[in-house]
Amino acid sequence: MATYQEFIQQNEDRDGVRFSWNLWPSSRLEATRLVVPVSCLFTPLKERPDLPPVQYEPVLCSRANCKAVLNPLCQVDFRAKIWACNFCFQRNPFPPSYAGISEVNQPAELMPQFSTIEYIVQRGPPTPLIFLYVVDTCLEEEDLQALKESLQMSLSLLPPNALVGLITFGRMVQVHELSCEGIAKSYVFRGTKDLSAKQIQEMLGLTKPAASGQQGRPPAPQDAAASCRFLQPVHRVDMNLTDLLGELQRDPWPVPQGKRPLRSTGVALSVAVGLLEGTFPNTGARVMLFIGGPPTQGPGMVVGDELKTPIRSWHDIQKDNARHLKKATKYYEAMANRSAVNGHSIDIYACALDQTGLLEMKCLSNLTGGHIVMGDSFNTSLFKQTFQRVFSKDYNGDFRMAFGSVMEVKTSRELKVCGAIGPCVSLNSKGSCVSENEMGVGGTSQWKVCSLNPSTTLGMYFEVVNQHNAPVPQGGRGVIQFVTQYQHSNTQRRIRVSTIARNWADAQSQIQHIESSFDQEAAAVLMARLGVFRAESEEGPDVLRWLDRQLIRLFMFHLRRSPFLQVFNNSPDESSYYRHHFVRQDLTQSLIMVQPILYSYSFYGPPEPVLLDSSSILPDRILLMDTFFQLVIYHGETIAQWRKAGYQEMAEYENFKQLLQAPLDDAQEILQTRFPMPRYVDTEHGGSQARFLLSKVNPSQTHNNLYAWGQETGAPILTDDVSLQVFMDHLKKLAVSSSA
């Protein structure tokens, strides 16, 4: 038998799940004592090159409130052509098309290796993908130019039949008509006016005049031409749109001294959402919002246009001094919910040196599965490559994105689902398997995830509801089924079903087993997600206190210091950005976020991971730190001097050259695959950018204790934070006292 390690790995590879516990305590009481709930990280669309989708529809349990999908765990009576649902125990006949099944002729979904299986279903006409660019024109010329080029480039990446649309905004919002010849037309909206979806559709001429309806004729179907004026197949408007983008000008309205440009992000989004809502409801679509600054007017305004009033900081927020915060947040939340209902996702690409209002707008992406990318400028490779990577393709040449998915969770009776944490919204589907105890987005067994990619990972939280006095039959297994319906990027509708079973264990008799089934990494990430989720909705210190009360492991030290929970030194936008990614990345990436990885390159041996500690910072080392968001190459003092002296250019110091090159190559590898692309920092001892590294390492040496340690290794960190050692000491005391 494989080790748990292998088991876990295998499960992850096959089903995309990582459970905190791989043996489940068999009663509620015991589960509660374990502190870390039965929960898992689930990656619905985990890439499975080895899993060809089947071309038929899944067989469903006939019970109306069950509808579980036939799976390898079901008991099947091949002779009677009957199968028993392993959730509700309903006995269901196979459909006629399964007449030929037998023990030796089983459909794929009954084979154990197909605990995860994907069906292609034929429902309705295929709908093309829709990409609606919403572009801020209040940019510096250089930025705008770069953005225009990126957008033009992206056109070539889209499938020819995909529909594209363009909305630009600054002081006004312009919806560009793409179908016309000659004169370029656009519809313009005032950036300060909150319009209802109906008004927007009327103004865009998307509604039929009421007159025709009066004669009793059924209202004609939506005039395709009308709706398509703004959304056209790429292959048809390629040239046109390229020109249009090329002629795009900076927002021409003068920006007086001491003012911010007037940026109508709120209305632009409202128009975009309204447009899609009116033309392509329930069709996969991405609204891609490119912003170079905060919304400064109209609904959704985050900060006024007076430069003397800085954008809100955490400090302001804590002092309740952010006057636009609540209103703007509410506005964008409403927008996000509307968009989510229609299955449209919203990406935010925010490139500016200052904050852009991500705090207020984050829900747009968080609720709709969109991306958030934050950078300093559109004219950086960070943005350019990240943006390009949005359109990356899988081994089949299809986009690594899926749309409008609905994920449903079914549990066997002993379990109930408490909630999910990830880029999803509740569909408010109450059912027997829904727990009253909410964790994350709860109260439902169905979630809508408007946009998914293969790495999108949701944290799912469960509750063992089996009573202590009603033990689970020996050998019984708890079962969870994830049914994810989605629109594949090739426009097919697909359903992916993962059915996962775990053994029950009696906590009293089998505590060691349970203990050994603990997946520390998964648990850490899952708990961190819970923490982040709470941090989003509660006051910071409270969350930390909550965290401290929970089971604490090593990583928690870093989590406490991470930007996900700690807002010090981070702007509200950054916090939002970090949290956004934290709640959707898979386990590995999440771990990196919590506890950055530090590699050391030196002449003393091959590259090796070293402690994330200030003591690791040595003059003759090159360090490579990966925090997920940043990739820092740090040249120690000596190395830096050598490099400056140009030794690497000398033939006889070829080895030094190689040493310098090694971290670069490794970094490049990471850069190639990571989405969003991390900020790449190449710095050295004393460099201003070294702060990225210094802020992450464990401050084992600070200006306070520098000489107390009496050794000259490492670099002192100028912080008042406690070091890990101190933390651990404290923790040990605490653990002892609390157990007492």
């Binding site: 006004m172 000659g182 037309k185 656009s186 313009v188 009327e202 000008q249």
Partner: protein
């Protein structure tokens, strides 16, 4: 009576009328004689008209109606004896001759017409005798006033003879004519001689004013009669009168001219009426004098029976008409028919003459009966009219005839149209005496009339092209002003275009500190500032405050106390000049940006279908090269922008860097905004390619539109916002087709409800439907956003509401109802070109400062006022005039006179901030007579019309009209009471300067705004109402009294002399050009000569004339060339292009044409000149008693 008088005067009509009148008179007025006498006096002034009438009436009266001919004659004789009669006749005759001659020349035949007149006179005389004696006297009085006298005399001398002749003939038939000869000489003599007695009195009184008095023996009747008189009157009347006593006598006198009229009437009694009526008309038009002889003969033919003597006159009639009397007779009938009741009445009249007449007379008195009763009334009317004639004397023409009148009186009984003041004569006389350039140096000197071409030399007062006053002698006290009721107003056209031979106002730069101004009242440096203390200080002429002269402006004084550099500085020596304004005079203390023009084009279904969109776009491509500029060498700095719209607005980005224009659609019309800044307003040269591409594509883009709804409010808002965004002033050109019913601010509903017309609610139709546009207009003004609106409606568009913004912002409204590309393109394009190219100032504020004692209290025009003193004009172009009314707030002194300074601060089309200053000084008087001697009727009418047209917003139109009539009556009554020599109350005595007041006022009263016909749409009325509000004097003059030119003969270099706007003046054999400033008609008589047709139309046949043509064919003959030249020159004179309409006699379109024959009765019930004069006389008499 009046009717009679006037009618008689009017050649054709007059004659018939006289006839009628006479008959009526004869019976009616036994007493007329007396009036006549007075008339005679006045007649001299009036001369022709009055006198004849006077005599006419006289006859009846004196003659005892029964006596008829003899009596009339006698009367005439009496009148002659009275001088008045005689003179009047003479005067009448003379004028005619003068006119006629010219006319005659035009239409040879006319001569016949004259005779007809004579006839009228003849008859009228009898009638008129009583009535008219217009006032030769006044003429005499006229002398006081240079103009007056001149006219009087000249006219008299000329006219008198003929009229006399005519008149006399009637009396003694043959003899009458003879008199004329004497008449001519006599004319003056009349005044002096026969009339002297009576006249003299007038003279005395009149002299000062130089007015003419129209005394009518039967003033009251006149009123009623007048109404009658108009067209129908004449016709009917003649018969009537003729039949009655007058006829025989009258005819005889008429014999020469009158004959026709009288003849017809006389001849058949009833039947004749028709003929008579016709002839009268015809004859009248024809010059009386010339006509006489021929008429006589003709008449004889016609009249044979009844009026052999008259016969002569008849011939005259025919001539006027065309050929002999017969044709005229023929034609006339229809005309008369067309005209209306006249004929019928006429006939009736004749039959009933004796009895009916009398009755009518009484009715006339009633007034109420104008039109209907008129016939009967005529007689009476005429009676009174004669009286008028008397008073008229002032008028040269009349005056001339007047002399004759003496003789005529006997014969004439009615108010001869030619005996009442003739606008044409006044105009011609003014032309004749205005040979010298008009220098403005003399304070209180009235300038030549607007109809006269003259050169102006600025010597310290503003040119009349900039400022015209109603009175150049202002009363010193408020009491006087109130007593006289003469409005004290000035019509100011600050940016008027000057002829090439006059230099535009000089630009003065006083340096960084800005123009030198009085410390207290802030008046700008001007010639009225008195430098004292060796030039170190100056005393303000307006408020007397003493201000230090800034060192940089100091200059020594010469021995006369004038600054040495006086003539080097425009602001010290000229009436008009400009200052360069400093930044202190700019909005927000920032020098202005160059202005912008924004074209907003309706692209709804109707607009596209009518071809408008296409035309506008095509035209703009070239027109953009002609944007206004001050230096022709430079490119215009005006930037342009384009918007199209239907239910939504489309803005265009035409930035020069673009390969293609971009369209920006704004559908949020409820809250308009401008979607772009950069690229919307562009320099034409830089963006030419993009603009041309745009203009090419607009028609294509909307060719298939099915959108019928439009918005309007947001369109203006859009333009306004664009200007705001660009921080500049400018002008919007809106091309709009339909009532804006789409959901948007300023949405309107159709409220055209003809049932409201004539009710107290009628005024609401002139008011804007919603308050939105008033607010919008205010915003526009604040930004300096002027709006010009081009309307292309197919139905009601509510001009009253849509026009609010243009009117409040100094813009213009153009209306092309049922626009069709082919027919209306030229007019529209010419209007557009002119409108785009004309010089215009923006963001203007006008302030009128006055010297202590008076104050500008009211303003009329296209502008907005947010307080009581500053006239704010978002845009001010060279065609816009503002009428300012002054009231006393203290006493004025004769010594200093009254000063006014009109300062207009504006941004020129090159973006320069300037101040244009016009200074005007007028005299003050403590004698009413001085006031009446020195005022200008055209300007008064301009004021009255604007006053009245604004009045309809708040009062029922009837009340407005009554007010006008009342004020006019008060003015004239005051004159009569205070300035005219004592005379019979029956005499109508008019001041020389105001003798045209009644006829012009009548035109105002009959205008479509105040008295709409059934076919006049509400939009048209609102349109005209707004249009008049910014007209200057020359435009309002021709608008109310159109110019009617006979075209039979054209000479290069000069225009044929106009004829009066009456159908009587039209000859069947003639071709006439009528111009109103808005319309241009070419009326073609049915009997026009082939040669003429060939010359004009290139076709020999009347029936082949294509009535739909809007331009004459280009033919290579001198006549055609000259005619087209004339038409072109007319068009060039007016601010709006006049589409030419060819009207064939008796064609359906003639109805439209007739509408502009303002001396005739109008289809909508407006009184004829004659009727109105009678009415006015009655009013005056009531006031006097």
């Amino acid at each position: 009576m009046n009717v009679n008088q006037p009618t008689p005067m009017a050649s054709p009509y007059g004659q018939p009328q006289p006839g009628y009148g006479q008959p009526g008179y004869a019976p009616l007025d036994g007493g007329y004689p007396a009036p006549y006498a007075p008339y005679n006096g006045p007649a001299s002034a009036y001369q022709p008209g009055a006198p004849p009438q006077g005599p006419a009436r006289g006859p009846p009266v004196s003659g005892a109606p029964p006596v008829s001919a003899p009596q009339p004659y006698n009367q005439y004789s009496h009148s002659r004896g009275d001088m008045q009669n005689g003179p009047p006749l003479m005067t009448q005759a003379p004028p005619r001759p003068a006119v006629p001659q010219s006319y005659n020349q035009g239409a040879v035949n006319l001569s016949g017409g004259h005779p007809s007149y004579s006839q009228h006179y003849g008859p009228p005389p009898s009638m008129q005798q009583v009535t008219n004696q217009m006032t030769g006297m006044q003429i005499t009085s006229g002398p006081p006033t240079p103009a007056g006298p001149g006219y009087g005399t000249t006219a008299y001398s000329a006219a008198p003879p003929p009229s006399y002749t005519q008149a006399p003939p009637p009396a003694s038939s043959a003899p009458t004519q003879p008199p004329p000869p004497s008449g001519p000489a006599a004319s003056q003599q009349y005044y002096g001689g026969p009339p002297p007695p009576s006249q003299q009195p007038f003279n005395s009184s009149l002299p000062p004013t130089s007015q003419q008095q129209f005394t009518s023996s039967a003033p009251p009747p006149p009123a009623s009669q007048q109404t009658f008189p108009p067209a129908s009157h004449q016709a009917p009347a003649p018969p009537v009168s003729q039949p009655q006593q007058p006829f025989p006598p009258a005819q005889p006198p008429f014999s020469s001219a009158p004959p026709p009229v009288s003849q017809p009437a006389f001849v058949s009694g009833p039947p004749p009426p028709a003929q008579g009526s016709f002839p009268p008309r015809a004859p009248p038009p024809s010059s009386q004098p010339g006509s006489f002889p021929p008429p006589t003969s003709i008449s004889s033919g016609q009249y044979p029976g009844p009026m052999p003597p008259h016969q002569q006159p008849p011939p005259s009639q025919p001539p006027p008409y065309l050929s002999g009397p017969p044709p005229s007779g023929v034609q006339m009938p229809p005309t008369s028919m067309a005209q209306s009741n006249h004929l019928p009445p006429g006939p009736q009249g004749p039959p009933g003459p004796p009895g009916p007449l009398q009755q009518p007379q009484s009715q006339p008195g009633m007034q109420g009966g104008y039109p209907p009763q008129q016939n009967g009334a005529f007689g009476q009317v005429r009676g009174p009219q004669p009286g008028y004639a008397g008073p008229y004397p002032g008028q040269p023409n009349y005056g001339a005839p007047a002399p004759a009148p003496a003789p005529a009186p006997p014969a004439q009984k009615r108010l001869d149209p030619d005996a009442i003041p003739s606008p044409i004569q006044v105009i011609e006389d003014d032309k004749a005496k205005s040979n010298e350039p008009f220098t403005t140096g003399v304070r209180g000197q009235a300038p030549p009339l607007v109809t006269t071409n003259f050169q102006v030399k600025d010597q310290g007062n503003a040119s009349p092209r900039f400022i015209r006053c109603t009175a150049y002698n202002m009363p010193c006290t408020a009491d006087m002003a109130k007593q006289s009721q003469v409005p004290l107003a000035a019509v100011i056209k600050p940016l008027a275009t000057l002829p090439p031979d006059e230099s535009p106002p000089y630009l003065v730069d006083h340096g960084e500190s800005g123009p030198i101004r009085c410390n207290r009242c802030k008046a700008y440096m001007c010639p009225y500032m008195q430098f004292i203390e060796g030039g170190r200080r100056f005393q303000c002429g307006f408020c007397s405050c003493v201000t230090e002269v800034p060192p940089h402006y100091f200059q020594h004084l010469d021995h006369t106390g004038k600054r040495v550099d006086c003539y080097d500085r425009p602001e010290l020596s000229l009436g008009s000049y400009e200052f360069l304004a400093t930044v202190d005079y700019c909005k927000n203390n920032k020098l202005p940006q160059p202005p912008a023009f924004i074209f907003l084009i309706d692209v709804s279904y109707n607009a596209v279908k009518s071809g408008m969109v296409n035309i506008v776009c095509q035209e703009l491509k070239t027109l953009l090269d002609y944007l206004p500029r001050e230096n022709p060498e430079m490119d215009s700095v005006v930037r342009v922008g384009f918007v199209t719209y239907n239910k939504v607005l489309h803005f265009y980005n035409v930035k020069s860097s673009l390969a293609q224009p971009q369209m920006l659609v704004v559908s949020d019309v409820s809250d308009m905004f401008v979607p772009l800044l950069d690229g919307f307003l562009v320099n034409v040269n830089e963006s030419r390619l993009v603009i041309e591409s745009l203009l090419d594509q607009i028609p294509e883009m909307f060719a298939d539109t099915r959108e019928t709804e439009t918005v309007f409010g947001p369109v203006i808002q859009a333009g306004l916002e664009a200007l705001k965004a660009a921080d500049c002033a400018g002008k919007l050109f809106v091309f709009h087709t339909s009532l804006p019913i789409a959901e948007a601010p300023g949405k309107l509903k159709n409220r055209e409800d003809k049932k409201l017309i004539g009710t107290d609610k009628e005024k609401s139709l002139f008011q804007p439907q919603v308050g939105f546009y008033n607010t919008l207009a205010k915003e526009c003004v604040a930004q300096g956003c002027c709006v010009d609106l081009f309307l292309f409606p197919n139905q009601y568009v509510d001009v009253a509401t849509l026009g609010v913004v243009p009117v409040s912002t100094g813009g213009s409204v153009y209306k092309y109802t049922y626009f069709q590309a082919q027919a209306d393109k030229e007019r529209f394009l010419n209007d557009l070109r002119r409108d785009v190219q004309k010089l215009v100032g923006f963001d203007a504020v006008m302030r009128v400062r006055t010297s202590t004692g008076i104050r500008a209290t009211d303003f009329f025009g296209s502008f907005f006022m947010s307080n009581t003193t500053d006239v704010e004009l978002a845009g001010l172009d060279c065609d816009k005039a503002i009428t300012v009314e002054f009231k006393h707030d203290d006493k004025l002194s004769e010594e200093t006179g009254a000063l006014m300074q009109c300062a207009v601060l504006y941004t020129s089309c090159s973006g320069q901030r300037r101040l244009r200053v016009h200074n005007m000084a007028v005299n003050c008087c403590s004698q009413l007579a001085d006031l009446y001697r020195n005022c200008e009727t055209d300007t008064i009418i301009n004021f009255f019309s604007k006053y009245a047209f604004r009045g309809v917003l708040s009062n029922p139109t009837k009340a407005v009209r009554d007010t006008l009539v009342n004020q006019c009556a008060q003015i004239l009554a005051c004159y009569r009471k205070n300035c005219a020599s004592p005379s019979s109350a029956g005499q109508l005595i008019l001041p020389e300067c105001m003798k045209l007041l009644p006829v012009y006022l009548n035109c105002v009263l009959k205008s479509d705004v105040l008295l709409p016909g059934a076919d006049v749409s509400l939009d048209d009325r609102a349109y005209l109402r707004q249009l008049i509000s910014c007209m200057d004097v020359s435009e309002s003059h021709v608008f109310f009294y159109p110019r009617l030119l006979p075209l039979t003969k054209l000479e290069s270099g000069s225009l044929p002399m106009a004829v009066r706007d009456s159908e009587e003046r039209l000859s069947k054999g003639g071709v006439y050009l009528l111009e109103t400033g808005l319309h241009l008609f070419l009326w073609v008589g049915a009997n026009v000569q082939q040669e003429l047709l060939l010359n004009i139309f290139g076709t020999p046949s009347f029936s082949q004339i294509e009535p739909s043509m809007t331009n004459l064919p280009v033919l290579d003959n001198p006549f055609s060339q000259r005619l087209r030249e004339i038409i072109d020159s007319f068009r060039a004179q007016r601010s709006r292009y006049m589409k030419l309409m060819v009207v064939k006699q008796e064609d359906r379109t003639e109805l439209i044409f007739r509408h502009f024959l303002v001396e005739d009765k109008s289809a909508s019930g407006g009184a004829s000149y004659v009727d109105f004069l009678c009415h006015m006389h009655k009013e005056i008499r009531q006031l006097l008693s």
